[in-house]
């Protein structure tokens, strides 16, 4: 079983549209499992028309809670908290009250240990949900991180692990992971254990800048990378720069997709672009890109 992760650094370069198309194409070649690792803005389900089979609670980190009956208002919790999570408010002109901002609290329990009255304890919070669904291309694992929650990396790991277990269980040959933007915690989790990363980029100053940072990140964790340029005709100068950059570093370029509104039209219709307009230029480029990726997966250890 191989693991392919789709990343971009910069957001909005077309990761999810490419992931949906690759899911369509890959599923014609082999049995696959899909995982949407962009857990705070999960969009893959919007183009795969999934049927939910399972729903599970995701418990995130701990959050501190102050018992107002025990609190003697000494303010030591406020002093030790480094996350600005203890809020000092005023009950009336002479009384101060302390409470915890659940969104800022990291659950370190520093305040719990510090409180001389033992008025603070921590509680585990439900931070989201994860699902197993069926799609016409294979099972999909996806999740919904509740608004503003942390621990997205942990939820990404959960979604991928479930996908991996099912793939091993059912002898499915590919785990296709649609990753989040950026280079931080959820990206590192999405990238962990991948055999190959496909970086979807665009020929803009931001795209080029972010491409270098995401390639640095996957390289740091020793995952080989391929590059796909989306909206390639938007700026031929930057497209040439990306090509030269990849050539220079021995990174294979698997395709150049032209700027085409058909990608958005397919999204509006809730379909992968390769299914929506199979004979179009975009679909043709993606089919060739998939063959290229497949060769790399076969060669990957």
């Amino acid at each position: 079983m191989k693991q392919l992760v789709i990343l971009s650094g910069k957001g909005g370069t077309g990761k999810t549209s490419v992931a949906a198309a690759l899911a369509h194409l890959a599923s014609q070649a082999m049995p696959i499992v899909l995982a949407d690792a962009d857990v705070d803005a999960a969009n893959l389900e919007l183009v795969l028309d999934p049927t939910k089979r399972e729903e599970h609670v995701f418990m995130g980190g701990q959050v501190a809670i102050i018992d107002p009956d025990l609190c003697q208002l000494c303010g030591q919790c406020y002093e030790v908290c480094r996350f600005e999570a203890v809020i000092r408010g005023t009950l009336n002109p002479t009384w101060e009250a302390y409470r915890i901002d659940g969104l800022a609290c990291e659950g370190c329990a520093s305040c719990v240990y510090q409180c001389p009255e033992k008025a603070i304890h921590t509680e585990e919070q439900q931070a989201g949900l994860w699902f197993r669904s069926d799609t016409r291309f294979g099972p999909l694992f996806h999740a919904h991180l509740f608004a503003g929650q942390e621990n997205s990396g942990k939820l990404v790991t959960m979604v991928k692990q479930q996908g991996r277990l099912l793939a091993l269980d059912e002898g499915r040959e590919l785990l296709l992971v649609d990753g989040p933007p950026g280079i931080g915690c959820p990206v590192i989790s999405a990238n962990a254990g991948a055999d190959l990363a496909l970086i979807v980029t665009e020929p803009t100053v931001s795209g080029v800048h972010d491409l270098e940072r995401i390639l640095g990140t996957v390289n740091h964790f020793r995952v080989p990378a391929l590059v796909l340029i989306n909206k390639a005709d938007l700026n031929p100068v930057h497209t040439a720069r990306i090509e030269a950059y990849c050539l220079d570093r021995g990174i294979d370029l698997v395709g150049k997709i032209a700027y085409d509104n058909v990608v958005t039209e397919a999204m509006v219709q809730g379909q992968p672009v390769t299914a929506y307009q199979p004979d179009g230029d975009v679909a043709t480029t993606l089919r060739q890109a998939w063959l290229h990726i497949q060769r790399h997966l076969d060669g990957a250890a």
């Binding site: 971009s8 650094g9 910069k10 957001g11 909005g12 370069t13 999810t16 962009d38 705070d40 803005a41 969009n43 919007l46 183009v47 701990q62 480094r82 600005e84 969104l103 990291e106 370190c108 329990a109 520093s110 240990y113 510090q114 991180l145 608004a147 503003g148 929650q149 942390e150 997205s152 990396g153 933007p181 950026g182 280079i183 931080g184 915690c185 959820p186 990206v187 590192i188 665009e202 020929p203 100053v205 931001s206 795209g207 800048h209 972010d210 940072r213 990140t217 740091h220 964790f221 909206k231 938007l234 700026n235 100068v237 930057h238 700027y259 509104n261 958005t264 999204m267 509006v268 809730g270």
Partner: protein, 312 residues
């Protein structure tokens, strides 16, 4: 006045809108307190004439605003979190530090104490709870803060080092350096995509959250989540900029009407804009006719925030 610019979905044009807004109000002088309610403008001092406009790129994972605003950086500082270092002359290997650490970032193995910087959140619990005072803290560098002027705009950004996981400590320090002091009149904060902790950290303390979206199913799905965070969780006033107007469907329009979320500006789908931005040109430099619209956008934001005044 602190305005956070966010989106949920990536690539909808956050940085384009944030930089254009800053450039438009900087040249127009509208960030001075004569618009809107003076009291509402943080740190406004009527006797001062040097009104200060700050732009912070809080997308520390992929900071791109500097590519458009081209500031002259004259300040740079390594930032990160404080991690424990053990003083072996005092340590008795009692294991209390490991016991209090919720992230298993410190472990006592025989007569050695191991610290794992990549797991540490820098909370200081181990240091505070060591009965022998045998732990002191050292800076674990995770990135850098840089700042400088871009014309009338004071620019600052944070850059997370490649391979580091935690963006929040850098955003926190970037904001602490630039927006908590009293001589800032307007601060525009460019957030990262998504809706999790780095975005919340950027929005915290803002007076207004401007959400940039595109009229597509992905744009709508993520706009909903961003509204949940900004308006429902943080209780902040929000408004929407629809970018690439005309590209997809009417879902965003219907949602905003149903949810009473005001659409404050529309930028049409225009290949000229995409091409200018791809080359590193700011929108209002490539198409100066948008300047007036961004000034108008700012006026609308002032109107909304001043009408919010007095609300809990």
């Amino acid at each position: 006045m602190i305005i956070a610019v966010a989106s949920g979905k990536g690539g909808t044009g956050k940085t384009t809108v944030a930089t254009s807004l800053a450039q438009s109000i900087a040249t127009d002088g509208r960030h001075s307190a004569r618009s809107g309610s003076p009291d509402r403008i943080r740190g406004h001092n009527p006797s001062r004439t040097d009104e200060k406009l700050v732009f912070l790129d809080c997308d520390v994972e992929e900071p791109n605003a500097a590519l458009f605003l081209q500031p002259d950086f004259d300040y740079s500082q390594e930032v990160g979190i404080l991690i424990p270092e053990v003083d072996y002359d005092r340590c008795t290997f009692c294991g209390r530090c490991a016991e209090v650490c919720p992230w298993h970032a410190i472990a006592v193995v025989g007569r050695k104490v191991l610290v794992f910087p990549e797991l540490c959140h820098g909370c200081g619990s181990c240091t505070l709870n060591c009965p022998e005072d045998a732990i002191h803290e050292v800076l674990h560098v995770m990135g850098v803060l840089e700042s400088g002027q871009s014309g009338p705009i004071t620019f600052g950004h944070g850059v997370l080092n490649v391979g580091e996981a935690m963006a929040v400590p850098i955003i926190r320090q970037l904001k602490a350096r630039h927006v908590t002091n009293d001589d800032v009149d307007v601060a525009i904060l460019d957030a990262s995509p998504g809706t999790s902790c780095p975005v919340v950290e950027t929005m915290r303390g803002a007076d207004f959250v401007l959400l940039v979206t595109e009229p597509t199913p992905f744009g709508l799905h993520d706009l909903r989540l961003a509204v949940e965070v900004a308006r429902d969780e943080l209780g902040l006033p929000v408004g929407v900029v629809v970018n690439r107007d005309g590209v997809g469907d009417t879902g965003v329009e219907e949602y905003c009407t149903a949810e009473d979320v005001p659409i404050l500006m529309r930028i049409p789908l225009d290949r000229r804009i995409a091409e200018a931005i791809s080359g590193g040109q700011a929108l209002v430099e490539a198409l100066p006719e948008y300047r007036a619209q961004f000034v108008e956008l700012y006026e609308k934001i002032l109107e909304i925030t001043s009408s919010q005044e007095g609300r809990p």
